[in-house]
Subunit: 221 residues, 2 copies
């Protein structure tokens, strides 16, 4: 049985690994910073997780999830996203409030609970942030999405997900009226700073930074 802390390490590893391009591994400092602990603490945990065959790791090397570790992580992510969907759809939580509570709910141990919950929610495919929900067998549905910054002038797409899930970003999106499914058209690109002029749901134009565009994933028709 995994502890609350062990589960958070696995989930962090999944997150960091899915974000890095070619490599699928993380360094001690990177993990420690992400989890808000000191590197020495992370080192200790790496040893324990290795002992449990959940990660591949050796001193002074990078760490990565084993198959069994990855499956565990995906099942926690599944719970996280199902709970977020529940909070958003059934309890009227707003888009940017669900994450914090889901961080706690994802650690509830009951396979029956998560499967009943999924059924209750009618087998949703995406959470309120547009992220895909792993299946009960630990499989993650594949999504063909790209970041807004990859679109060319004149192209239109629909918001699929966010990369950055910080409150600051989510609140900014809220202010702009951008949700999952919102249509965005690139009106103009500004080579000078990489910023974009966009139309939100065919409304008036708006300039957004390159940083913004890189953190917004879209589905292109």
């Amino acid at each position: 049985m995994l502890s609350y802390t062990e589960e958070n390490y696995l989930k962090a590893l999944l997150k960091i690994c899915s974000q890095c391009e070619g490599r699928a591994e993380a360094g001690t400092n990177e993990m420690a910073a992400y989890l808000g602990v000191k590197p020495a603490t992370a080192t200790d945990m790496f040893k324990k997780l290795k002992e449990k065959s959940l990660v591949s790791y050796q001193r002074y090397g990078k760490i990565s999830l084993t198959e069994i570790g990855k499956k565990n992580a995906l099942l926690i992510l599944r719970k996280h996203r199902l709970w977020e969907t529940f909070l958003y759809q059934k309890l009227d939580f707003s888009w940017d409030e669900v994450h914090e509570v889901a961080e706690q709910l994802e650690h509830i141990k009951s396979e029956k609970l998560v499967n009943k919950l999924e059924n209750f929610l009618n087998y949703p495919e995406f959470d309120p942030h547009g992220d895909p929900i792993p299946k009960a067998n630990g499989e993650m549905p594949e999504l063909s999405t790209r970041s807004l910054s990859e679109l060319k002038t004149g192209e239109t797409a629909r918001v699929a997900a966010v990369k950055d899930t910080s409150v600051l970003f989510l609140q900014y999106l809220k202010k702009l009226g951008i949700n999952i499914g919102t249509q965005i058209t690139v009106l103009e690109t500004v080579p000078f700073d990489g910023s974009l002029q966009i139309a939100i749901d065919q409304q008036e134009a708006r300039n957004v930074s390159m940083k913004f565009a890189e953190n917004l994933f879209v589905h292109k028709p």
Copy 2:
């Protein structure tokens, strides 16, 4: 912020205290046995809870909840019973499956969550076991007391007190395993002599006389 463990102590104290008649306090052994720890462990926790002004306690004395401790305990019980109701009503858990999962869910920290959940469930008054659900302000709804003989077939209630306090009656109750708080369900009424077929704590059926039923007070939800 209370830890998971501290919360369990408060809840246990509430449970034990509500079951004993005049006194509203518990001994170290009693608490330790209830929580499945050794007495030495309980002693340590008592000191900590006293430090936080959640209990009244001094060495070699009994322990009881302070007002603030009681309110905390009631708010945990509120979460427990609301989650049990959710699992039972919305996720099709059976009566005897809800408790274990609610033991975990009751520790989720979010006032907004519990209040939204209560709203989602339409402000239920009782959990699936027929126990009353404390309100958001920490108040426990008062239960109406009546004699067992006033219950109708199918109704369930909890033993609140006895009318007849004779040794004969009390010994009979003891033999039947009936205490304050024991759950009694009326399975069948016998119009012929006013006797009742009852289930004691969901155990096998038993016939009791009208005289018996008239002398046992129960709380009905």
